[in-house]
Structures are given as structure tokens and as C-alpha cells.
Symmetry: C2
Subunit: 312 residues, 2 copies
Amino acid sequence: MAAVKAPEIITDKAQMRQWSRSMRAQGKSIGLVPTMGYLHEGHLSLIREAHKHTHLIVVSVYVNPGQFSPNEDLSTYPSDFDGDIKKIMSVPGGADVVFHPHNLYDYGESGVENEMKREKDGVIMSCVEDRGMGHETWVRVDRLEKGMCGKSRPVFFRGVATVVSKLFNIVEPDVAVFGKKDYQQWRIIRRMVRDLDFAVTVIGSEIVRGDDGLAMSSRNVHLSPNEREKALSISKSLSKAKYAAEKGQINCTELRNSVIQAIHEAGGRVDYAEIVDQESLEAVEEINVHVVFCIAAWFGKVRLIDNMEINL
Amino acid sequence: MAAVKAPEIITDKAQMRQWSRSMRAQGKSIGLVPTMGYLHEGHLSLIREAHKHTHLIVVSVYVNPGQFSPNEDLSTYPSDFDGDIKKIMSVPGGADVVFHPHNLYDYGESGVENEMKREKDGVIMSCVEDRGMGHETWVRVDRLEKGMCGKSRPVFFRGVATVVSKLFNIVEPDVAVFGKKDYQQWRIIRRMVRDLDFAVTVIGSEIVRGDDGLAMSSRNVHLSPNEREKALSISKSLSKAKYAAEKGQINCTELRNSVIQAIHEAGGRVDYAEIVDQESLEAVEEINVHVVFCIAAWFGKVRLIDNMEINL
């Protein structure tokens, strides 16, 4: 195997855009894989997917405070930048650039001025407001952002859509690859791209699972071996439900109950278990369209999500 | 004077972006002047301003349903496309392209599917939702959008920020010129560009007034000669207030009352009269920072806005 070159590491917004523009001027197309770092096989599969579509690959590594509430796990979100670079280089072709900004919400003087105003207002939502950053523009995808993860994490999708808009405007990619493990996120980004006319093609990449069936997630590192064993109830019960649906059980209440019960019996706490239309993400009562069965559940202090598409 | 060439008229999004990209590949910079048409001297001053900054000029002419409530004047908003082209050609250098899309919210099949969902939801806000368009992504500038025009027109700035995002993503300009007559809009667009990292420099262009002092507006055409005469109370009382401030009257309550009274006596109905910080648009009690005195008032069925910066 040919040695994979180390990616160029860029931390500055202007320099990132300059790189993209100079590459585009040379006729090269650019693929973006946005990540929050602590990469695993799931992320690497996104990089492999991106290589199918564009000449050059940018992987962004940035833990976005705009999608965390102050009471969520931003401070404990795992990171290992050196390890990430090594993992990226283990993929054939690697990446051309790793974009690793320090703070995407730092606007210098004009941000500081706003900090004082925030304290006066006393309004706090995400960690961006909580830290007194002056940022105040948010991209909202009205309907798709409301259900499922949006219900439990009200600032989450606002933060995701906003930081992806920023990354698109900085990196100016032709293609961006998102994992379908974050199914609702993937649909929201696609809708946002359509509605705001971003010149970016959004690709959804299939879920990567461990040998035991657990969907890959950076948060899995926080699971004890025992919790991980219990967490397998998510993928196992989802597979069972999918099989049952394919065999004729199309009643969603029945299917949901069986999954909720299985996770509960394994010691998990279900946040939601919903069977929704793949496009609109609206709940269905019977499976007669293309649906996706989405789960979020807590095992110990770790919240995991997973999903399976069911196309009858 | 050399004959000014007719602008190329482009109605298709993809074709518009293709034009911009091919020009950029040739090293040309692009200026955008977004308008809703029915051009007047104020708009033409924006085109003249744009010529100072870029090689090429795109003027967009599009009445944006996303910034009108169903009960506002979208249906009676004046238009004269042929006249607009002639006026653009009266400016030295004219424009290279007039971007004149039919419907920026038409997404084909995926929009139609959503229309049915909207009716189920029964949620209506702007004319975009009212007409059952599937669009659901909105750009919000949290603090700046709330006061003044945002109070009387709750969907307005959401619609403006969103359509300007769309235009930026379609036209991909280097520079965009906005009139400071719409002061709050100008500040909101600048903040949005900063917060979402758009690669666009936003220029604010000074208000253009008729010989009688009335700020130029497409809506002025709806004023009877008598109403126009009365509407002069806005610019006259603003000038008086500015003069008073410069002479030492820094109490904003006093200054506001004098303007409100003058407009009221002329037969106008004041929507708001606020003296605010030029950056944050927060109301001030005494003028000891750079402020702008902003007015909105109705004369007959016409709502007019105007403002003056006061830099003591």
C-alpha cells in the first residue's frame, strides 16, 4: 500500500477558504466531512465515501458549542487530535486538509461588545450564549427540527444547521458527507441545503456497526463493558422489529412497544422510539411508506442513538 | 456618453451561479445589488456604489413573499420590469446581469409533498407558508430582528435574512450593497454575514432623498400629492431633532416626543420613533454614543420608514 501523505492542518477560516478557492481555480472538486473529532470507523467510512465523489477531501474537526446545552456533555466530549490524524491517514487517500478551528464563534471586538448585552438580557440557550459569545444568527429548519432528538435537545439542530452553514461558507465544498446514524441531522441538512440554495450536494452514508452490532459513536468510549453489553438491546430489538415488519407486522404501536420493552428490560432508559416517514420525519401508525425506526436511549450516563430504515 | 449595454437577464438559479463562477474563474469580482424592483434613484445610487467595488454588477429583482405577512401589501407591491431595465441602463456602466427569478421557493416535487403537510399543520406565517410552499428553513438574527420594524412586522427580517442567504448562495458575490434607508435590515445583514461566515463584504449606502426631503421608496408611488406633503413631516422633524441634538438636547424622550408630535399633527400615525445605538440597535436614554433615530409612520395606507444617524 502506498504511504498516505499527512493532511495539511488549517486552523484559520480565511486560510481555509483561500485553500479551497485556489484548488477550485485549478479545476479540483472538494468534499467535506464534518466531524467533532475522536474519530472511529464510522467517520472513516464517510471519508471513504467522500473519495468516490471529489478530487480533494477536507475533514473538519470541531466540537461545536452551539449544539450543546450548558447542562449537556460538551466538557466531557472525548478528543484525541493526534489519534484522529493517524486514523485519517489509515484511509486510502487520507485527507488533503484537516480543518481544525479553535473557535468558530470568535468575532473579535464585535463579539466582546455583545457579551455585555447578553448578560443584560439574561437569555441563555446553547453553550455559545452561555459563554457570552456575541453570535446571534441561527439557521432553523422549522418542522424537521422539532421531533425526536429536537424534543430532548431543543438547541441541538439549531446549532448543527448553523455550524454546517458556517462550514459550508468557509470551506465552500462541492459535496458534503453525513452519516445516516444521525438520521434526523442528515435530513435537516439536506432540507437546509435545498431551502437556502447552498451549492453543495449532501451524501448520506450508511451506519457502521461494531462486530457486536452496536452503532459506532464517539460516545461509546464512555460505556463500561457491562453497559455496552446492555446497549446491544438497541440494535438487536431494532433488527427484530425490522424483521417482524418484513414478515407482515405493520402496526407501529406493536413494533415500538416491543423495542421499548427490550431496551427497558436490558436496563436502558428510552428517550424516544419512533417510526417515521423517511422524508418528513412524521410519525406513522402503519408501515405503508418508506419509514425509519429511530431510537434514543440512555445506558448509565451515555445517551445513544440508532436507527434502521424499513422499506416494505 | 458611451451607450450602456443591456444587462443579460437570467431567471434560472443554476444559470445564475454558473455565470458567476465562470466570471470568477476569469478573475472578475462580482457585486450584488438586491432589490424588489420598481427602481428609483435610491436603488440607482446602490448600483453606482457597487461599481466602486467590483468588476461586474448583478442586480436582483425579486419581490420576496417570505418577508410579507398574508395581510401585508405583497399583492399591491408595485412593479415595472421594463422600466427597471431602462433605469439600470441610465446608470454609467449599467449592470452586467439582472437576476429575475420567478419563484425562489419552488423546489419541484419535494415542495409539493410538503404543501400537504402544511395544511395539516395549519401553521401560517409569511406568504411563503400561506401559499403552501414547502420551504421551512429560516435564518434568524435573534436580537437585532426583534425591535422596531421587527415588532410591527414579525416575519419581515426572518424573510429578508433568508432570501439574502439564498441570493448569496446563488449569485456568490464578493460585495453586496444595501441602502441605509432600511437601517435595521442593513445591520441585520451585516451581523448575519459575520455570524454565518459568508464570504461577502456588505456595504451600506446613504439614503437618497427627493428635492423635498422625502426618503426615496418604491411605496412613495402610492402617496397622493397631499399625503406626500404631509409625509414630509418625517424628514423635517428628524432633521430638526438632529439639529437639536447637535445643539445639546441629548434627552431622547424629549427628542422622540417632538418628532412624534410633528408627525401626528401632520396627520400621520407613528408606528415607532426610536433612538438606538447604531450597532446593537438598543434604545438609549441619552445621546452619548453614535445613535440612529429611526421612524416608521403611516400616511393613509402607506407605511414609510426613514432614519438619521446622529454622531455627537
